[in-house]
């Protein structure tokens, strides 16, 4: 096929091609190459092998960041899925005011992570926040000092994140629930299966594509988490709620330790690929294979 055939489409897609190659591929190569150097304030081509990675894995702060991202990833993903699914099931019960409830559950998703972080920072304020309210109502035993507690601060982040993200899962699941054939419900009710059992054992497995999509989208967002934590805890107390993304940004912009930042960002990238690869393989390879047969 001559090159000039369909030339208009090629020109039209040129920006996309250039951006994909320079930004999405080029930047990763750039980051990887410079992660093998001892760049400090400016990128310099001074090869030191995998030194930066060795140093990275020895950092206590990086360990904390990785541990946090696992806790956050786990609690946030599971929390969003359970609450999102629960809400979608509730809304699916032909209730009155359905669209009002849906609007209420989804509005946090329209807000910025910074806003979410700042609101919850105020709600969970150890002096004036909910703890204080509970004390005023006579429940003096009530403790909610998560934001100043090293071990619990990351769970405060999780609550704020689930509050914001659960509505998203709800929308996805609800779309799936509404696509379920009425006949399945009829046969389930003829069989006399309890409703909650039908939801968990029959309907949920049928929603598997929705669940998988939700998990992949949430998990890809988990690795990126930055603004929420910055607004809510600033990575504190101490560095108890720091994450890989924060570690990278800190080394780039405030500690002038570019080599470390590149190395850490490459590790972030690899972990995203590890999450995506099985899904992409399933979605685009296996499925096409079966579709063609």
């Amino acid at each position: 096929m001559p090159f000039y055939r369909n030339i208009a489409a090629k020109i039209a897609l040129l920006p996309m091609i250039v951006i994909s190659l320079t930004v999405f591929v080029g930047c990763i190569i750039y980051s990887f190459v410079y992660s093998l150097t001892n760049s400090k304030l400016v990128p310099v081509m001074n090869y030191v092998g995998f030194d930066q990675y060795e140093r990275l894995f020895k950092q206590r702060k990086w360990d904390v960041a990785v541990e946090n991202i696992f806790i956050y990833g786990f609690v946030f993903t599971i929390g969003c899925l359970i609450i999102g699914f629960l809400l979608s099931v509730l809304i699916d019960q032909k209730i009155r005011g359905e669209s009002l409830f849906r609007t209420i559950f989804l509005y946090p998703y329209a807000m910025s992570f910074v806003v979410t972080g700042l609101v919850w920072k105020w709600v969970l304020n150890p002096t004036f926040g909910l703890e204080n309210s509970m004390h005023m109502w006579g429940m003096t035993w009530f403790e909610l000092d998560w934001l100043v507690n090293r071990d619990l601060a990351i769970y405060a982040v999780c609550i704020a994140a689930v509050w914001q993200g659960a509505g998203f899962v709800m929308v996805l699941m609800l779309a799936g629930l509404r696509g379920i054939d009425e006949d399945i419900w009829k046969s389930l009710s003829i069989e006399g299966v309890a409703k909650w059992k039908s939801y968990i054992f029959v309907i949920l497995p049928m929603l598997r594509p929705m669940v998988v999509t939700a998990i992949v989208l949430i998990a890809a967002g988990v690795v990126k988490v930055y603004d929420l934590i910055l607004a809510l805890t600033s990575g504190g107390p101490g560095y108890a709620t720091t994450t890989p993304a924060m570690y990278v940004m800190e080394n780039f912009f405030s500690r002038a330790n570019l080599g470390q930042a590149f190395a850490a960002s490459i590790i972030m990238f690899i972990s995203v690929v590890c999450i995506l690869a099985p899904w992409a393989f399933y979605e685009f390879y296996l499925r096409n294979k079966y579709a063609n047969n």
């Binding site: 190659l21 980051s31 009155r96 609007t103 910025s112 806003v115 004036f128 910055l230 940004m249």
Partner: protein, 293 residues
């Protein structure tokens, strides 16, 4: 996707249904609580905030915090409130949305109707970009923009938003155009339409629904962005989210929670407004973004 529940509404309230309503209302209260706290805190004066329960309605309405948050609160050394940030966000959002939606519509059109060898390879590459953590690309991209002479400027941040909005927008436009009847396109070809003519006279007039979805996605996404604005917009163009964070986090003297909360509400007004007036469209945007190619 049909979002209308099937079957008649149940007529009788059973114990189970009362329980269901109680539960869903409790969930709704949990989701509304931060919004409620935000609003009432912004209407209290500081003495009341210090003395009273965070959940109590204000005894006396005080509107002092709102104008202060808008035009006097201090971010670092400048005390101009959020106002400059608001206009910066508009200056960033409007062109970014127009450029990214137009470019992505063109991409989607070329991919759906004018496929050439290799086009889908680059599309896949572009989609892959949607999942790469920003932290991997931020620094190299900064270097590229520096080289182009647009780093830390309005065109710089617009380009960045266009780049990072492109994968998902291209996907939804391509999916939409692929669902159009191909005969329409063939008829236009027989009538002598070329790439550009068909795009302007046949495709664009049919693109209203998907364009609305794309615009909603981009307006909320770009308005809520923090990280990219922080890095790429430069000191003079800092978006509202960045200024909000500066106002709340950087305290000089006593923290004024009512001002902080007014500022937080002001920042989320635009996305919330978009969310409430767009209703179903917002939900469609989520569903469109979640459907895989």
């Amino acid at each position: 996707m049909s979002t209308i529940p099937k079957g008649p509404r149940p007529k009788h309230l059973t114990v189970g249904r009362i329980g269901l309503y109680c539960f869903i209302i409790m969930c709704a209260l949990f989701f509304l609580m931060p919004l409620y706290v935000m609003i009432i805190t912004s209407l209290k004066d500081m003495d009341e905030i210090r003395a009273a329960n965070i959940l109590n309605l204000p005894k006396e309405l005080s509107f002092y915090a709102w104008p202060k948050a808008w035009s006097q609160a201090c971010t670092g050394f400048v005390c101009e409130g959020l106002k400059p940030g608001f206009f910066n966000s508009i200056k960033i959002t409007v062109p970014s949305v127009i450029v990214s939606v137009a470019l992505s519509a063109l991409n989607g059109y070329a991919l759906a109707f004018w496929r050439f060898k290799g086009a889908y390879f680059f599309f896949g590459l572009c989609m892959f970009g949607a999942f790469i953590p920003y932290q991997v690309m931020v620094y190299p991209l900064l270097k590229i923009e520096d080289f182009l002479g647009i780093y830390s400027s309005l065109p710089g941040i617009i380009l960045v938003h266009t780049i990072f909005g492109m994968p998902i927008l291209t996907l939804i436009f391509r999916n939409f155009y692929s669902s159009l009847p191909i005969d329409l396109f063939k008829a236009a070809r027989i009538d002598g339409g070329n790439f550009i003519k068909i795009f302007f006279y046949v495709i664009i007039p049919m693109s209203t629904p998907i364009t609305i979805v794309a615009v909603i996605l981009q307006v909320t996404g770009i308005w809520n962005d923090f990280l990219l604005g922080l890095v790429f917009a430069g000191r003079d163009n800092q978006p509202m989210t960045v200024q909000l964070n500066n106002i709340v986090q950087v305290d000089y003297g006593v923290a004024e929670y009512n001002v902080d909360m007014s500022a937080t509400i002001l920042t989320s007004l635009v996305p919330l407004f978009v969310y409430f007036i767009s209703g179903r469209w917002f939900v469609r945007g989520i569903a469109a973004g979640a459907i895989k190619g």
